[in-house]
Every structure is written in C-alpha cells, then in structure tokens.
Amino acid sequence: MKGTDMSSTNPLTTTEPVPGPRRGPDPAAFLDVRDLRIHFPTDDGLVKAVDGISFTLERGRTLGIVGESGSGKSVTSLGILGLHRREHARVSGEVWLDGEELISASPERVRQLRGQRMAMIFQDPLTAMHPYFTVGAQIVEAYRVHHRVSKAVARKRAVDLLGRVGIPQPAKRVDDYPHQFSGGMRQRAMIAMALVNNPDLLIADEPTTALDVTVQAQILDLIRDLQEEFGSAVLMITHDLGVVAELADDILVMYGGRCVEEGSAQTLFRRPEHPYTWGLLGSMPRVDRETRDRLIPIKGTPPSLINLPSGCAFHPRCPYQGRDGIPCRTEVPSLAQGSDHGVACHIAPAERRRIFAEDIAPAL
C-alpha cells in the first residue's frame, strides 16, 4: 500500500478551519463524512441530490440512513465509494476513511480502496450482477483485483464465502450464472462478493427490497452475523424503518438531500422530534400490531431536487408548518444538536417533545 503520498493530507493538519454546519474534526472516527454535497448539472437545472450531509461511523457499528425514494440515499453511498463520474457530478465536502480523505484523493487511489476496504451491496442483485459471467467468476474477479493469487486460490475463497453466506452446495453453485439463482440466493451471492476482501466498511443499499419478508429477515440476520464476525462498519441504507430498527445503532433521516434528524436508534424510535420522522414512523407497517388500516402515509410527494421548497424543504407537506409564526417557508432550519440528538426543525425542542408525547406517540 502506498502511504507516502498521503502524508500531506493528514486529517489532523488540514482540517483545522472547519466551514459548514457540522461537528468538529473527529480523528477517532473510522468513517467521517463532512458536509458532503453531490450536485448533478442537467438540462433541466442543477439537481442537488445530496446537499450537506455529515456523519461519523465506527468499526463494528451500524448507521442506518433512512428516507423516502429520491431523498439522495444511493447518491450518498455512491459518493463515498467515489463512483460518481466527474463529468456528470459535482462532488464537494470531505469523506475520511480511516484517516484518509477520499474526495481529494486521486481516482486511482480511490479505486484501490474500492472493493478492498469499502464494499457495497447493491439494491437489485439481478441487475447488479453481470448476466454473462458465472457467480463464481464475478467473486473471483473481485478478489483478484486486490490480491495477487492464482485463480484456483481465489476460486477456493469464492466457494468458501458462498458457503459462509448460506448457499447450499457452494462448490457446485459457484459455476452457475446469476439467473440460475433465486432472488434471495442472488442477494447472498452479492453479499459474498462484497465481503470477499474483508472490507472495513460495508455499504448495504436497500439489501432486502427485492425480497419477500422471510428471506428479508434471513438476509438481515446474515448481515448482522457477518458484521459481528468481521467487525466492519456497516452503512445500512433503506426507506424501511423496520430494517434499521433491527440493525442500526444510529440513524440518520434524510429528506430532499439533507439530514433532518439524527441520533441513536433508541432515541429516534422512542423520542423522535422531527415531523418527517413522525410521518415515517406512522407509515411504517408493524408486524406486532394490527395497524394495517392505521397506516398513515405522509401526504404529498417528495420534493423536486432542482427547485427544493424554500426554507424547510418539508414545509409543503408538514402539518405544523407556520405554527406560532415559525419561519418554515423562509428560513432553512439548521441541524441543531439537542441533548441526545440532532433535529432540523423550527419548532422549539420542548414543544416538539410535547407534540410527540401527546399527539403522535399514542397514535403509533
């Protein structure tokens, strides 16, 4: 590994003046994302898919990023991996991985880290695996880019991992093509491919959306077990609060490319303070209760990322908008850190807690 050319961008020396709304430099954090912005210039205008996201994540911990479709979750994860092409996307901010800044690093350096130290499980394993190569060949390839080993050794490793993720008869199935696998098996194979290099950071982008409920639970268990075994940091991306409820230590709620609420999973489930999070909780199907008919979807549609609503981007859909003369339409609420978590809303903290305790919690 080349370390010398990185010494000039040591996080401790270069990040002293910290602009933007975010926590101070946190040298201990394994993954430290600071004020990440990813904008796409298009014919219709500038798409601000991610607009100032910050978070940290430690090894062995799981951060859940939650939000509706189009809130910028996938764009964020691809941004961390450096997978946005420079011609299409304007990326700014900082992504520190184990003390190394990636946004300003050379593409070649980021490529070396990709798949090796940070790996990704994609949303739809049918389209995310190459239809013309066998599952084994695709895993072998992922291993051999980063390890100088013979094909036979890599193949043994592929069979090994397929077995570990629960694929029966891995020595046989390794030569199958993706279309010969069932959806759940494909997702397992995808996980095997992501884990083949023992990555320190595993990003799972909606790893279970394409699967039925029982298989979903199995896959989530698998990810949890593997995380315990490998001790990796996991970024779990989903629009399903149920998924993060089971897995995440911390949760970040995204709306329109920004963070509206963040905190520990306990806090966010017990004392959520943002009206959007309340909406997400209200629209969450719960297996333990018969709430099917009490499912309350958030009214309205996700915002346009080209012309984000002024002030608080959630205001056109928010039932508390403008209440007591708060400036929802004109001022962007900053992500204020309370005692136990951060919330971006103009309603006063005490009032938010009161509304939740009196109006929201009983209905959930």
């Binding site: 990709r114 798949g115 389209t127 190459h130 239809p131 013309y132 030569d175």
Partner: protein
C-alpha cells in the same frame, strides 16, 4: 467447460434443436425457390426448355428436350428429381448424350456444359476472400469506431465518426467503388488493375486486387456497426452491473473491455450473422464493380445468358449460406449469452 449440473445436456439439446430447425428451413427454402423458378418461365410465356436448347432450335427440338429433361412433368415430380439430385446426384439425358451430375447436384448448365456445383466451387474462393476480408475490416473497424465514439461522446471524434457512418450507409457501392477505383487504380496507380490472381500464386497481387473491394464492401457495413456499437455501449455503461464492476475496484480498462464489451458484442454477433448471410448481395455488386470473378459475377453472367440452372443454383446456394450463417450465430449466441441455453 465447467462441469456444472445439467449444462452439457442443455447444450446438446440446444444444438440438436438448431440443426433440426435449420434443416427444415433449408427444405422449405429449396421448395419455394424451385417453385418460383418453375413458375417464372410459365408467367413469362416461354417454355423453359427453350432456355436450355438455344435460340436456333426448332419447336420440335424444344419439345423433345422438354420431354427428355422432364420439363413437361408436374412441378412435384420435377422437385422430387431435383431434391434427389441434391442428395444422391442424377443423370441428364438430352438425347445425343447422357450426362451424370454428382451429388450435390444443383442442376446442370447446358450453356457451360458443366454441372452447376463445380461452377460454384470454382468461384467460391474469390467470393469468400472478398467476404471474409471485408467482414474482418468492418467488424474490427466498426466496433472500434463505435466504442471510441461512445467513450468520447459528444466530442469531435464522436461527431466525425458519426458523419462518416452516415455517409457509409447512404452511398451506394457503385458510387464509392467506382470512385475508389478511379482514384487509387487509374489515377494514383497505388493498386494494381488487371486480372484476379490466386492467393497461392501471388499473395501481394491477390490482396492488392481485392483491397478496394474489401474496403468498399466493409464501408457499407462498418457504418452500421459503428452506430450499433455506440448505441449499445452507451446503454451498457449505464447498467447496474457496470457500476458493480467499478465498485469492486476494477480498473476502468477492465470495466469497459471485459464487462461492457461482453454485453455490447451480443447483438453485434447476431447482426454479423445476418449480414454474413446477406453479404452475397453486396458481393455481387462489388465483384462486378471491381471485375472479380466470384459467385456474384457468375450469377450476373448467368442472368444475362438466361442460364436458368445456374441462377437457380446460385440462389439456393445463397439461401444455404444464410441458413448456415444463422445456425452458426445461434451457436455462438449460446456461448456468449448463457441465458439463451435455458430458453
């Protein structure tokens, strides 16, 4: 071959099915072709026997020939004899002399006084040389141009290639061919004129004589390939599995040359097979423009001299060529796209 469960069976099955389809197709095509050639003289109001005996013959001669050749028989009987000839050979008895035509008997040319099949075989090397050379040029040139164009989308190179491609498909062979010949052979003298020579006798002369034919013919197809490759590449690089390939940390070179190209080539192979089949048409024009003595020339000469058996033979041979090319493409396709084998 990876020893995966059930795979060899799939492949054998697949090949058997294709062989069968191709054989049935061939039989149907031979029937239709034969039917058409049986009908044409009838519709034109001529007795087919006239075409065999020449203009000076008396009506009695014509009738006698018709009887001896079985041209007065119903079409089914004639086809049966023709089909038997293809498989087992047959005898032609036109009165004074009896002629044997070995299998595969595509007919007998009384004008050339030879069976059609050896006539075709004589000309085949020229046509094959022309076709294969052109195919190599257009395949490599077209695909390369398309890939570069797609990767440099919107740039000057991309625009140049696409304009050339447009010119390539819209200009007829007669125009580009004659122009090229005028410039490179007659004005600049960079390439030899004169007769076609065999590869074995003079490889340089052979290539020199064929060169313009290759390029002219290739230009016609290369344009289509460049555009198809470009479109296919642009679509493929947007696929999820290309993103996965990058996420693994593969070098961009590998992502394009291995992962993207594998998908891009699949439709190219299909089109290539169809084009190889239809190449005979392009070859006919090209051969006549550049004075190459191939099958194209043979068929043009045969049409001019109303040598019906040769025309029928060339047509059937061309059809066989197309069916064969499709068969090979189907096999190739199964190798390239593993999903096809199960379908």
């Amino acid at each position: 071959m990876a020893p995966a469960d059930g795979r060899p069976m799939d492949v054998t099955n697949y090949i058997l099915r294709r062989v069968l389809t191709s054989a049935v197709l061939m039989i149907i095509i031979s029937m239709v072709t034969f039917g058409v050639f049986f009908m044409v003289p009838k519709l034109a109001g001529t007795n087919p026997a006239e075409l065999y005996v020449g203009k000076q013959a008396t009506p009695a001669d014509v009738a006698a020939t018709a009887r001896k050749l079985g041209l007065d028989q119903p079409v089914t009987v004639q086809y049966a004899r023709f089909a038997k000839g293809l498989v087992a050979g047959r005898d032609f008895d036109d009165g004074p002399n009896k002629t044997h035509c070995d299998a595969p008997c595509f007919g007998y040319s009384f004008r050339n006084d030879r069976p059609v099949w050896p006539l075709l075989l004589d000309r085949l090397p020229v046509t094959i040389s022309l076709a294969i050379g052109a195919a190599i040029i257009w395949l490599i040139g077209g695909v390369l141009a398309g890939v570069i164009s797609a990767l440099r989308r919107g740039g000057a190179l991309d625009r140049t290639v696409m304009v050339l491609a447009l010119a390539g498909v819209s200009l007829p062979i007669y125009f580009t061919g004659l122009l090229a010949q005028l410039v490179f052979v007659h004005t600049l003298h960079w390439l030899p004129g004169g007769e076609y020579v065999n590869f074995a006798d003079d490889p340089a002369g052979w290539a020199g004589k064929l060169f313009l034919g290759w390029v002219t013919l290739a230009l016609l197809y290369a344009a289509t390939y460049a555009r198809l490759t470009r479109a296919q590449m642009l679509e493929t690089v947007g696929e999820d599995y290309i993103r996965t390939a990058r996420a693994k940390g593969l070098r961009e070179r590998t992502v394009i040359a291995k992962h993207a190209m594998r998908s891009v080539l699949t439709p190219i192979v299909t089109i290539f097979g169809l084009d190889i089949g239809s190449l005979l048409g392009g070859a006919i024009l090209t051969e006549s423009v550049f004075g190459l003595p191939g099958i194209g020339r043979l068929s043009i000469d045969a049409v001019n001299t109303k040598d019906l058996p040769v025309v029928l033979g060339v047509t059937l041979f061309g059809a066989l060529f197309i069916v064969l090319a499709n068969f090979i493409v189907d096999l190739l396709y199964a190798v390239i796209d593993p999903r096809v084998r199960l379908g």
